[in-house]
């Protein structure tokens, strides 16, 4: 019982880190690529690549995504993929919020409704046990 509870706590903590840093990373990448896309459309592959690699937003985004990825890898060492993947979908709500407030993107009501449905799906999945396969 205690083991199950600590397994749940560990799982939720790491999913929280994923939910914060994953969306932040994507939004920062979006910010960086919008800046590059606007000016670098005519540059070749290498020009584009060097613009990407010298963008502060892109590197901050990559750092966020690495944090996300480490948390993700750790949680996947014990929890089912089909449990973690939908559970991390709360991140979609975060992306919409961050894109709206940080990047001033227009999020239509239908898009908000879609994001809401995604989060509802997450709640349904959250009520299933984290592991169904045998542990070694």
């Amino acid at each position: 019982m205690t083991i199950a509870r600590s397994l749940h706590f560990k799982t939720y903590l790491l999913i929280l880190l994923m939910v914060i840093f994953g969306p932040l990373g994507n939004v920062l990448l979006g910010k960086g690529m919008k800046q590059i896309g606007a000016t670098g459309a005519s540059a070749g592959v290498f020009g584009q690549l060097s613009r990407i690699l010298t963008s502060g937003s892109i590197w901050l985004g990559i750092a966020s995504l690495i944090t996300f990825f480490v948390a993700y890898m750790l949680v996947l060492s014990w929890a089912d993929y089909s449990y973690v993947q939908p559970a991390s979908a709360v991140a979609y709500g975060m992306v919409a919020l961050l894109a709206h407030y940080m990047l001033r993107e227009v999020v239509t009501p239908l898009r908000w409704a879609g994001v809401g449905l995604i989060c509802l799906g997450v709640l349904v999945v959250g009520h299933t046990p984290p592991r169904t396969t045998e542990s070694n």
């Binding site: 969306p23 994507n26 939004v27 990448l29 979006g30 690529m33 919008k34 590059i36 896309g37 990407i52 480490v70 993700y72 890898m73 750790l74 996947l76 060492s77 014990w78 089912d80 993929y81 089909s82 449990y83 993947q85 939908p86 979908a89 979609y92 992306v95 919409a96 961050l98 894109a99 709206h100 990047l103 993107e105 227009v106 999020v107 239509t108 009501p109 239908l110 898009r111 409704a113 879609g114 994001v115 809401g116 449905l117 995604i118 989060c119 509802l120 799906g121 997450v122 709640l123 349904v124 999945v125 959250g126 009520h127 299933t128 169904t132 396969t133 542990s135 070694n136």
Partner: protein, 124 residues
């Protein structure tokens, strides 16, 4: 058309990569010690599993495809669309990793997919 290929790569290579990484991490075993040195050892052990490298290569492909579409489309559109990988993820979890995907999980995944559909319909 070019964007469609990029979206397919984000979803296909991304999900495939995550499934490979999961398989590798299950081989590494459950992480119980969260001290930095122990985490570093876990990382080094993970890098010795070939599934990890296949997974990382696939995820890198998905990453650059994501960058490509992000240069043209809004984040609040692109990221929800990539949630279509949820269906692929549940299928992969079931058939590639042998996980038991319960009816309830399927219901959750279906809700997520319905949400993605609304996001696509709400595009302007």
């Amino acid at each position: 058309m070019r964007d469609l290929i990029f979206y397919l790569l984000i979803i296909g290579a991304g999900t495939g990569g995550e499934l490979c990484v999961t398989r590798a991490m299950k081989e590494v075993g459950e992480v119980k010690d969260f001290r930095p040195a122990a985490l570093l050892r876990v990382l080094l052990r993970a890098l010795q599993v070939s599934w990890m490298w296949i997974g990382v290569a696939l995820m890198a492909t998905a990453f650059f495809s994501l960058l490509a579409v992000l240069s043209r489309e809004n984040v609040s559109f692109v990221v929800p669309v990539t949630a279509l990988s949820y269906g692929a993820g549940a299928l992969g979890g079931k058939f590639f990793l042998g996980e038991k995907v319960t009816a309830r999980r399927w219901a959750g995944v279906l809700l997520v997919c319905a949400g993605v559909t609304l996001v696509i319909l709400g595009r302007r």
